[in-house]
């Protein structure tokens, strides 16, 4: 298998490289890709959508339909991980508790843990003592990360950024929190249900905007028909429409990253994990 694979791959690679001799040179301004369609986007983005960042305007307006299905793809991935992995078990098996005054770890089988006492703290079976340096730095940084993420989402019209990037950064901040403390602490703050509903909400904001345009006006996702609702002219309505769907993308991406992380890191149990 290995030898066969190597030979096939060398052949494929050789063939692929051989045929590149007819391709346009790297950075050739006269290549068909650069002169057929893209000049339209570059020259008309301001008059069509009033968004200087061409990537944003193409992503969320000219090819917004692609982007709607991009958010749908991550919804699909979240649902797929949930369907494949999640083990919704209510039964309590073996659990470990730390007696905080003494530092002794106790093991309780089943549900025999003394409910009323607050000197015990639940820990994972592969628990390691919390490191104060890591904990402190992460708690300090998470706020900055989230503020930066909001900046990236909101400033996508004028600088590199947008819904997807900002959503990833927010999701990463919450995953950083889960890593620096533990999975349970982060599930307590943003549960699985919230993550799932946020994901669906994000896609719904996007697709709902599209459907609203279709109900008011003519085409799916044609934001210019939102102008009477937003109280602006048709071009600024496109700019605002882009912003609305970017928020949808950000919410969906943020939530789905957390959702997938919960399921993958605990193999679906969401009881113990990183």
């Amino acid at each position: 298998m290995k030898i066969l694979g190597t030979i096939t791959i060398l052949l494929c690679g050789g063939l692929l490289i051989f045929f590149t001799s007819d391709f346009p040179d790297f950075g050739d301004p006269k290549s068909p890709a650069s002169i057929h369609l893209s000049p339209y986007f570059i020259e008309h983005t301001l008059e069509d959508t009033a968004v200087p960042n061409i990537v944003t305007s193409v992503l969320a307006d000219y090819r917004s339909y692609d982007t709607m299905f991009e958010t749908t793809v991550i919804l699909t991935a979240g649902l797929a991980c949930f369907l494949l992995l999640r083990i919704p078990t209510k039964e309590v098996t073996r659990r470990y508790y730390l007696h905080e005054p003494t530092g002794v770890t106790l093991r309780f089988d089943g549900d025999r843990y003394p409910k009323g006492s607050n000197v015990f703290k639940r820990i994972d079976s592969n628990w390691v003592p919390y490191d104060i340096i890591i904990n402190f730095t992460c708690r300090l940084l998470i706020h900055f990360i989230q503020i930066f993420a909001l900046y990236v989402v909101a400033h996508g019209h004028y600088s590199p950024g947008g819904g997807f990037q900002g959503g990833v950064v927010i999701g990463a901040s919450i995953i950083l929190f889960a890593i620096s403390s533990n999975l349970r602490a982060s599930i307590k703050r943003l549960g699985e249900k919230a993550a799932a509903i946020f994901t669906a909400t994000g896609v719904f904001i996007y697709a709902g905007t599209g459907a609203l345009c279709m109900v008011i006006g003519e085409h799916f996702l044609n934001y210019s028909f939102l102008a009477p609702l937003l109280g602006t002219d048709r071009i600024m309505a496109r700019s605002h429409g882009i912003f609305i769907v970017e928020i949808g993308v950000a919410v969906a991406v943020m939530a789905v990253m957390i959702w997938i992380y919960y399921n993958l890191s605990s193999a679906g149990k969401q009881d113990e994990g990183l």
Binding site: V128, D131, I133, I134, T137, C138, L140, L141
Partner: protein, 105 residues
């Protein structure tokens, strides 16, 4: 004048980058390699980034000033995160039972 200071800073930063990279390859074990990786993140980045900030400020206007501020913020955050990350990795190495290298007698 500022250009020369910036140039010196950037070159000094690149020197630390070089030393750190050589160390990552040449040093004998995990912990000492991390030590040299730390040099890249702290000294190398500090010097070369502040050199860049100065270089931008050479032509002073609002946009360049904002860019310089962003570069300084990058330095601050790298100074917070990079030692923490190194610490966490060393911690994990010790917990996993990795013994530091000793010179053979």
């Amino acid at each position: 004048m500022i250009i020369y200071i910036a140039g010196v800073l950037i070159i000094a930063g690149l020197f630390f980058f070089l030393v750190g990279s050589i160390g990552m390859i040449r040093l004998p074990d995990f912990y000492s390699r991390l030590h040299s990786a730390g040099i890249i993140d702290t000294m190398g980045l500090l010097l070369s980034m502040s050199g860049l900030a100065l270089l931008i400020l050479n032509e002073f206007n609002l946009g360049n000033f904002l860019s310089a501020i962003k570069i300084i913020l990058i330095i601050v955050f790298i100074f917070l995160t990079s030692p923490t990350a190194t610490h966490a990795i060393v911690d994990a190495g010790i917990r996993a039972g990795l013994k530091p290298w000793e010179k053979k007698q």
